[in-house]
């Protein structure tokens, strides 16, 4: 057995604790760095494209960023398949299907955009995006219910629901009300207003609220490793909610997608993809 193989073997300390080297594998760390680098480079290129300094190549950046969820979905489905059959695999598969559905929505969006040359929002693509929400919410709900055997989940759900009410009120009074619902009619179509309202509300109610409840639950576990990927899921939901709110606000001023929004929509699924990789490492550790 080589030194490398020896090092990769689970070791037992005198008290019997499993310590199998670094918990996050070098592959996951590399994948995380690649994701971050891609995000930064794409952000810079997207910024240049938004100021028309890349010409037609600017569309390629938009195509790339729009297809990120699809790539992440494939990654997550592959990771899910490596997990033993059971509830945990079900949780990650459901989340993967959520990202896949959103990715398909993005694919339709970008095809329509390239074919028609206009911003296809809202369009049939949003049907898939909304389906994605259902899957993501179901995945997070499954993860919450998984903690029933260990923790009292009611308090976390009640606190998260309280947060949901406050967050909805804040978003309504600061963005949705003045810049979407009661904005002058000529700035946005009715359908755009409806979807600009629906997305932030869905983000907060069925995605961020369960994610916060999950975060509260896993925070009770202290140093428990299985909490780590769920923190990334919470971060992903928060990123998506913030991006949708900014998108709704930017829409009032006539902006379609800005570099910030493009990056937000790419960062949220990337965080989920990274969460799946971290989860795989932890389950193997």
């Amino acid at each position: 057995m080589t030194d490398t193989q020896l090092r990769s073997q689970p070791q037992n300390d005198p008290r019997g604790t499993r310590t199998s080297g670094p918990i996050i594998s070098s592959g996951t760390r590399t994948a995380g760095l690649i994701m971050l680098s891609v995000l930064i480079i794409a952000g810079v290129l997207d910024h240049l494209a938004s100021s028309d300094r890349l010409g037609d190549a600017g569309d390629l950046v938009l195509v790339f960023l729009t297809l990120v969820p699809l790539g992440v979905a494939v990654l997550m489905l592959l990771v899910s398949r490596t997990l033993a059959a059971g509830p945990v695999r079900g949780q990650w598969t459901t989340l993967s299907l959520g990202i896949l559905s959103a990715g398909v929505g993005n694919l339709i969006f970008i095809v329509l955009y390239l074919v028609t040359g206009t911003d296809p929002y809202p369009s049939v693509a949003d049907v898939f995006t909304l389906m994605g929400y259902a899957f993501l919410a179901a995945g997070v709900a499954k993860a919450i219910l998984a903690y029933r055997g260990l923790l009292d989940i009611r308090h976390a759900v009640i606190i998260a629901s309280g947060f949901s009410v406050v967050a909805l009120a804040v978003v309504y009074f600061t963005v949705i009300g003045p810049y979407v619902i009661f904005a002058p009619t000529e700035t946005q179509s009715f359908a755009t207003r409806v979807f600009n309202t629906i997305y932030p509300v869905l983000d907060i109610t069925i995605l961020l609220t369960p994610a916060i409840a999950l975060g509260l639950l896993v925070s009770k576990l202290g140093a428990g490793r299985i909490a780590w990927p769920w923190w990334l899921v919470v971060a992903s939901a928060a990123t998506l909610a913030l991006t949708d709110v900014v998108f709704a606000y930017a829409g009032y001023y006539g902006y379609g997608r800005t570099p910030f929004v493009d990056l937000g929509y790419a960062a949220a699924p990337l965080l989920l993809g990274f969460a799946a990789l971290v989860a795989r490492d932890i389950y193997r550790s």
Binding site: R15, G16, R18, L83, A84, A146, A223, S285
Partner: protein, 257 residues
């Protein structure tokens, strides 16, 4: 049995119940004083609800209530923090970690120390429990004074982490901590589960097994491994893939068989 009937039969019935519940609690490892308190609680509950219970199942019902009271007490009990020795505020040599070490209750401190790695445990025991100087500690362990100071600093940090993670309801009794460090089945299970689900949840899982079979963490034995494995499977199944759980259980088994 109706309340009226119970009252008619006088105190003999309650004496019988008292003895049964008290003995039941004692067999669960509850101390004499706690058993007395809990028995009162159980009988209070019985006084209110016993008339709804099938007379043939009264003792079984009392046993269940007793077990639940023990679990409730373990869950809600706040640790008694008796300050064994007040920190010497006038001592300029005391850092925050020293003050922490000298201010926590001694039993809790001993429990936390027993969770440290071997070298850290020796360092802390010699330096603080035996109250010897850094120089003497260094000589005792064959280390340089500088290395001893650095190692002591790290040991205090780890001790602080343990004390902070076992704060509140997670206070460890020395006997339980001994189980952890001495590779008893409960200790091994807690140690194996902690990295995944945190100390508190791991403790709850193992303690739950012990309580469910009428034992304590101290009395959990090798023959209880199947019950423990069943409980770990039930609790962790939604949280971890089955192969990971099997590996964990294998680790625990490997350490005790």
């Amino acid at each position: 049995m109706s309340e009226e009937h119970l009252l008619t039969r006088g105190s003999s019935v309650w004496r019988d119940f008292y003895g049964f519940v008290y003995n039941n609690l004692r067999t669960q490892g509850v101390s004499h004083f706690d058993a007395e308190d809990l028995t009162q609680d159980v009988l209070e509950t019985a006084y209110t609800h016993l008339d709804t219970v099938d007379p043939r199942r009264q003792h079984a019902w009392l046993a269940t209530v007793s077990r639940n009271k023990v679990v409730d007490k373990a869950r809600w009990a706040k640790p008694v923090c008796v300050v064994a020795e007040l920190p010497d505020a006038a001592d300029p040599g005391l850092g925050p970690d020293d003050i922490l070490i000298r201010s926590v209750d001694r039993q809790r401190l001993l429990a936390a120390i027993s969770l440290l790695a071997e070298r850290d445990r020796l360092l802390v025991e010699i330096r603080y429990l035996q109250d010897r100087s850094v120089l003497e500690t260094a000589e005792e362990l064959g280390m340089s004074v500088g290395a001893t100071k650095v190692a002591l600093h790290r040991a205090r940090e780890r001790l602080r982490e343990i004390l902070e993670t076992t704060d509140g309801a997670k206070s460890i009794r020395p006997t339980e901590a001994r189980g952890v460090s001495m590779a008893g089945i409960a200790g091994r299970a807690v140690m194996a589960l902690t990295p995944y689900i945190g100390r508190m949840a791991a403790d709850t899982c193992v303690r739950g097994t012990a309580v469910s079979i009428g034992k304590t963490l101290d009395t959990l034995a090798v023959e209880d491994m199947d019950a423990l494995a069943y409980r770990i499977n039930a609790v962790l199944c939604p949280l971890l893939p089955s192969d990971t759980i099997e590996r964990l259980i294998g680790d625990i088994r490997g350490g005790v068989l």
